[in-house]
Homo-oligomer: 730 residues x 2
């Protein structure tokens, strides 16, 4: 169990030491990152359980993958994020005894993730076996404005001799792999040493050959340093109190890493910990000013949406283009790979809250274009075929029916380009990256789409978002997204939307509604751990929003009645075994007036990692679900849509919420939206803004606010679902 | 290149030593086996290139298989046939020089596989570097009547000191694996020694723990024996001539193997090589009496059909139930696994030529029923789900879309049961095995079939015979075979046969004819080595007969016009990248009057291994293609059908053949059929027989012959095919 305390608006507080089963989850929740460096929330003292994790974005090892029965163009190498040089360990001895919270008497153990300060603070009161009372306090940060720097301020008080051993360690031992196909491969001893001295360790990954330098310095207390190939150890002694600051700087995957790391370390140490703290708060103040969401009436959701936004920022902050992994930099789940989650779930949030990061993430995609072109050629397709899973841009998916066959990732990238451009009018991006992404993905679709005798376009044999069906024809989501992609590249086509006349619903893919029914009396979730794909694929059981996602992304292609019927039909067949599902179902539920259901799905997504079972998020947070809380609130209850270059709102609050307020960046404007049960107020804080409110055009001058009354909304009873929303008992 | 000489009616002759690229193929062609023991045609002297191979049916090693992304119920272990203790190596020294055909001067090197004697004879004339003329002759046999025994008679003449080292060797070194996903994993040093003495070696496989004893004795010349854990070496010396016989007996996977092996060895040695030769010929005389096919007008086909029948017998001869691997016991291709080839291609031949073996093979399937029940339970299906690939009966397929999803293997087994029972009326088999096989496979189908509102039955998401499509709905072959399976078990249903009204053809699977076309200008075959499955699956390109096979198996469900239109449609889309395709296309081509095309496909199948390129069959013969020659001749040109408990004929010869004669076992009768261009003569040699000739009932009394005139047949031009039949230039 995790030990997360009652919801606070701007902090996540752990009020006791979690048990073994909650430790990994807590390490993910309390992870700090700045998009470049990620530190799992490991305790300071080494070997304190859980899963150590220091991640440097795009620092990965390669390994061979083999198949029992290989096939043409099955990837033969994969990439796995590695545990980078770790500067977290600080061992403390009190008298003759090691400070170890699993021994002695633990009077108090509290950790606070401060969402405005951008710090993780830990306070411990502990009595050793010998009866010595010890107080330890540490404040850890990963600097947003200094993408190479981490720091910690550590202090201990005890009436006893004290000894600190503070390490920078490489190739540390890791617990063995768990038996879950979704967990990542853990690579042991990935680094070989290039140089080592008392200031900096330089290593290179053995297989992928990527270089990394880590420089460390301790200030505020005298100490001595010993070093070996894989270790710098600073040792300090004292009595009564020791307080020191530790600054670490990483440089990797570039030139002159040793010198750069030393320079960054020295600058941080020179400026000092307090300056780093102040810079961190400034950075976050600016972020929250544009991104904050206020939720009145549900403190847990209030906390969770900020927690989610904070972790989205931690995953996505960019000083230069890099991928945004599905787990951010909070764990090694999915091998540290980036999936379609980025463009479909994370970038929409960033586009309206921190657009520079969205643009940079798309520039990273663009930087991998040649690899995507190579992959398309290998697949005998035109244009670019972006990977289903990757770190560097090469396809790393080892199960092609739910990997390479999910061609929709290419349209998802195009969709993110279009949305980013609509929201920012960033011409430079469009010229140097966006246009080419649109055109190359459109070329892919042109080589995939075929036309029947009636000149209707089709896409055969691909996998849509729902991973409980595969290799289907005319997946509506894929077809509509490809259609949009082609139109944006100047090649409009009309692609088939299979429709079941009898049931009056769209087929998720051709023939779907005629497949055999699933027996939902079986309640072992996730179903994929209890059923063979043979069984799942050939029946009407859906892992995650697919047609429902299409209705959110392409509102122009469905009437309200169609949405209502489709939602009810698919709601009855969707089990949400993917964390990507609930936010989207929440948005459509809100649109269709199922407001309580929408709130429940919001909670399922928002609280998944923060208040889920001890299993949840142990190998890293679900960053898309973190983004999902914002999506549910802003696109669901705020009714934001951004289809076809136009921003629109249709707000409606669920019964339990009394107020929802959020900021948005739309072109030059910082827009504020405040929704109450009977009104909505839009404010253009700094520049004029045009958008639509409930179908009507609105223009605001700079500094203008306008309030519209809202009709009372009925909370329409939701259609049945086989799996009730997983929310927390209050 | 292989060095197979001109076609002879009863022998396959190699007239020179093949080059490196033809060596492995020749080793497969000249393999000897008796269903239990298989010896590849390795040269006598050790380390003479190629791939050593001594195979004991069902003696396998287990190994883990891993997946880049595993899934529920993906097999975690597989089975691989191992290279058993090898008694083939006989090293010769002439003076100071080793006898090595790659050195010195090779005047003559001839090997003859005698299809009536059941022996491989080798004659060599060689002059050593020192100028000594040497003649070596060896005659090798694997005894049909003694399933544990192999023997060789070896003689050498040379005017020089001679020294023989004749080995029984375990864990011999093997060449490394080739880079082809279809090739098997080679397991090195699979055995650990249990005991070792001058007579017998006893070992156990390291992983699977299967025991094997090999006893050896040399007679006819004095010699001395040394032994170690993995070796018995007999050394003999002489001058001018040495002649000796070597007898080996294997026992494995049972009790008292050491004693049994010694006993069998001693009995063989006591009776002597000449007795073994005589027994072998008697056994084959009896086989050929019931099985021979005579073909006038095409000597290569004449040779090839007997070669094929001989190898089918070698793969399938049974003193007790065992599997029939896809490569027989001629190589380690497909890891030595049994696939649906057995029931669909091999057992039909055996049912009419050597029914005891067909019954025994089905009893072997029955012996694995509990494993198939376990697999069905794991898949959440009822009844039995037999494996796609296996040695022991457990599923060993590592790519489920073309493995586990090919549920038709279960109906194929039921089909073989029905055919065997119709041909033999073997009540004991039906009572003790056949009935249960029918019922358990029918239970599987009952849990797979579902009914739509119109009460039409469907099967969704399975893979039919064609491996260039996968996970399709209503595969016609699967549906028709399941329908037959269910009816035979007393549960008649009507399953959907998707039909394209516009093109007036059946869909191979639902929607197939609406998939995009394949661009057949690409001519890199097999396509699977040049195209991703994503590309293959979603287009109209067919690896192997699928709907065409359905038309052969279920003639009752297609009109002649439908057959004609379907054949033309699928002929234009089938590339025959599987050796299982040509025989079936040949049968339908013959039925539809495309007689030259039928002859060409017959040749493609029949000559594949015997006269194919050096690549063909290097890791073992295509036993189904060996059976395919018989299928093409007897079912194609003989027009034999055996649907629904009735035997029928509709003979028609292609232009180049002047006569076709074959024998059949039908219930108690040995039936003879002699076809000429203008007549057919049926003879009931020993018992009365009932059958149909061209739709008319025929009854023959025991000993009676009856001749029917045949109308002249037109050789109807065949529809286009993207890949011309691969036949040999004359």
């Amino acid at each position: 169990m995790s030990e997360i305390g009652a919801a606070e608006p701007w902090a996540v507080r752990e009020t006791a030491l979690p048990g073994d089963d909650g430790l990994r989850q807590a390490e993910s929740i309390f992870a700090l990152a700045n998009g470049h460096i990620g530190l799992r929330g490991n305790l300071d003292e080494p070997h304190a359980g859980g899963m150590p994790g220091t991640f440097l974005n795009s620092l990965f090892e390669e390994r061979d993958i083999t198949y029992p029965e290989a096939g043409y163009a099955f990837p033969e190498r994969t990439e796995t994020v590695v545990n980078a040089p770790n500067a977290k360990p600080i061992a403390l001895r009190v008298g003759d005894e090691p400070f170890d919270v699993r021994t002695g008497t633990l009077t108090r153990h509290e950790r606070v993730l401060d969402l405005r300060a951008g710090t993780l603070t830990r306070e411990v009161e502990w009595t050793s076996s010998a009866g010595v009372e010890v107080r330890v306090r540490s404040v850890r940060l990963v600097s947003f404005p200094r993408p190479s720097v981490t720091a910690v301020r550590y202090s201990v008080h005890a009436d006893a001799p004290l000894r600190i051993e503070s390490d920078l360690v490489v190739n540390e031992a890791l617990p063995s792999e768990r038996d879950d196909p979704r967990a990542s491969a853990i690579i042991s001893t990935p680094f070989r040493s290039l140089s080592s001295d008392r200031d900096v360790l330089v290593h290179r990954t053995r297989g992928s050959g990527l270089p990394v330098a880590a420089a460390v310095i301790h200030t505020g207390h005298e100490g001595t340093v010993v070093t070996s190939l894989d270790l710098i150890r600073w040792t300090a002694e004292g009595h009564g109190e020791i307080t020191f600051d530790k600054f670490t700087a990483y440089r990797w995957n570039e030139e002159n890493i040793r010198e750069q790391a030393l320079k960054d370390r020295d600058a941080a140490a020179r400026d000092g910990f307090d300056v780093l703290l102040a810079e961190q708060r400034d950075y976050l103040d600016e972020f929250w000013d544009g991104a904050d969401v206020e939720v009145d009436g549900d403190p847990e959701i209030q906390q969770a949406v900020r927690f989610g936004l904070f972790h989205v920022l931690q995953a996505a902050a960019q000083a230069g283009p890099h991928p945004i992994p599905a787990k951010g930099l909070t764990g090694n789940g999915y091998d540290g790979h980036t999936l379609w989650d980025t463009e479909t779930y994370v970038l929409p949030v960033l586009t309206y809250t921190h657009p520079e990061c969205a643009g940079m993430a798309l520039r990273w995609r663009h930087s991998t274009l040649d690899k995507a072109r190579d992959r398309a050629r290998e697949l005998r397709l035109d244009g670019a075929a972006f990977p289903w899973r990757t770190i560097s841009g090469v396809e790393c998916s080892g199960y092609w029916p739910a990997g390479t066959a999910a061609l929709h990732v290419n349209a998802d990238i195009a969709d993110a380009v279009l949305r980013y451009y609509a929201a920012t009018c960033d011409e430079d991006f469009m010229r140097s990256a966006g246009r080419e992404l649109l055109e190359e993905t459109a070329r892919l679709w042109k080589s995939v789409v075929y036309f029947d005798e009636e000149n209707t376009g089709h896409i055969a044999g691909v996998t849509g978002p729902d991973e409980y069906t595969a290799l289907m024809d005319d997946n509506v989501y894929t077809n509509l997204m490809a259609e949009q992609n082609l139109r944006a590249a100047g090649s409009p086509v009309h692609l088939n939307m299979p429709y079941d006349e009898k049931r009056e619903v769209h087929d998720q893919s051709a023939g779907f509604t005629r497949l055999p029914a699933w027996d939902f009396s079986d309640e072992e979730y996730p179903l994929m751990l209890h059923h063979h794909y043979l069984n799942l694929y050939r029946k009407q059981v859906i892992k995650q929003a697919d047609l429902v996602l299409a209705m959110m992304k392409r509102p122009d292609r469905f009437t309200l009645d169609e949405k209502r019927r489709n939602f009810a039909y698919y709601e009855a067949r969707t089990v949400r075994d993917s964390s990507l599902s609930a936010p989207i179902q929440s948005v459509l539920a809100a649109e269709l007036g199922h407001l309580t259901r929408a709130h429940e799905y919001l909670a399922e997504a928002a609280l998944l990692d923060l208040r889920g079972s001890g299993e949840a998020g142990g190998d890293g947070l679900h960053i898309a679900a973190c983004a999902g809380a914002w999506i549910s609130l802003v696109m669901g209850f705020g009714g934001l849509r951004d289809h076809d270059n136009r921003l629109s709102f249709a707000p409606r609050l669920p019964p339990r919420l009394s107020r929802l307020a959020f900021g948005l960046r739309w072109r030059d404007c910082r827009l504020s939206v405040v929704v109450t049960p009977d009104s909505v107020t839009y404010g253009a804080r700094n520049a004029p803004a045009d958008f639509r409110h409930q179908g009507h055009d609105v223009h605001l001058a700079a500094g203008q606010e306008e309030t519209f009354p809202l009709d009372p909304v009925e909370d329409v009873p939701a259609p049945p679902t086989p799996r009730p929303p997983r929310t927390i008992a209050e």
